[in-house]
Amino acid sequence: MIHFDKVSKIYPDSSIALEDISFSIEPKEFISIVGHSGAGKTTLLKMFLAEEKPSKGKIFFESNDISTLNRNQINDFRRKVGVVFQDFRLLPDRNVYENIAFAMEAAGRTDDEIEADVPHVLDLVDLKSKIWNFPHELSGGERQRVSIARAIVNQPDVVIADEPTGNLDPLNTYDIVQILKKINDLGTTVILTTHNKGVIDSLKKRVLTMENGKIIRDDREGKYII
């Protein structure tokens, strides 16, 4: 479904962010990417989201080379991908409902669909009671759950979670990981980056370990080993 083919990213100051990365992700897979800060995890995700182009190599989503997509195709492609960030990136002046509806509006969904799907997806992340609250009235864990709800509301094929638990305490971390697992069980591919050892070890899913822009391990049922 996703295939990185000998991808390198070299910045103009000739620092190498990624070097000769090749791997594939199957549909409905749950894959974790681990590594120290600066190992290249975020660069990898940015290139997958077409925010940056690889210096060498190709990235395929289904049969399309992502780096050759034009603006409209990138927009279409991004609607098939949900993204969750460490810093949540919710809009502070909109309540939970509006934050999620916003993503659906941008994807061109009808008002009826929005009214039906937003409560449903909030139910999935167990946050239905806070539907009219604003982000500043929520805890970190709750905000991250809103952010996940926003990422999955358009029923994407892939959900990318970039250090989603980085700002959370262990209990909330556990909750978030359980939600991501649930999403994966419902049939969505999940790509998770983290440096939380506990998360990786409890997941018992595929782990890709990166260091200095290279993949050094790729384990089917991996543990956090660096």
């Binding site: 927009n75 991004r78 609607r79 990136r89 809009l91 941008a106 994807a107 061109g108």
Partner: protein, 309 residues
Amino acid sequence: MIWIKLKRIVRSGFYSFWRNGFVSLSSILVMMVTLFVIGSTIFSGAILGSTLNQIKDKVDVNVYFVTTAPEEEILAIKESIEKLPEVAPPVVYISKEDVLADFKKRHENDEFTLQALDELGENPLGATLNIKAKDPSQYESIVKFLDNESTLSSDGTSIIDKVNYYQNKDAIDRLTNIINSANRLGVILTIFLIIISTLITFNTLRLVIYMSRDEIAVMRLVGASTNYIRGPFFVAGAIYGFISAIFTLILFYPITIWLGNTTENFFVGLNVFHYYTANFGQIFLVIVASGVAIGSVSSFLAVRKYLKV
């Protein structure tokens, strides 16, 4: 589908307008300056134009005849002048007697002159023809026509004493020049001010958009199209322009009343307030259209920077 999108774009345009209250206010104030300048240009153009017309209207050419010129010959010349296409009828004939009466009336407080006139015994003043051209530039050809016309009396001397066009010409030319260069200076100044205030508006809107950069980034990441992201800013910019235009038009109301009362005597005959109310439709259109155009185009351009993600 397009209808839903349009509705959402307009709605979130209004939304972003309300939410950024303070910045909206400053944008509106800055745009009001621009629109005020544009409006002032319209008014000063009208004032200068009407002043020029008034002056042009006051310009005429007087043909003075010698005292011995027979009345029939003068009337014959009058008739032939009236047939000229350049001349705005009527050509006014003032007989010797009327000229004398006029002269006496003008100098009724001037004992010396009246005495001198009495001592002279006879009327020293000749009859006059008063000619107006349809356009000031045509005086020249009228005067040429007079030169060529046979205006000789039976004894071979000209019955025309003098034509005062050549003295007036200088004054007329100078006035026209002054008004034209005032007009030109006004236009240059206005263009300059419009550029400055458009740039300030542009920068103020950039601030609004800068505050929304997170929102833009999130919209990008959920796959919103470029126009869908740009649309609300475009709408908000247009709203800024529209509101500024309305405020400017309201502001012109007391200003033109005041100006109208104080300048009516100075600028011959044009009351700015009457001009404003009489041409309100046009002025409204120009101001509102400029406001909406400046606002929407500036924000359309300003948002470009944050769309690259």
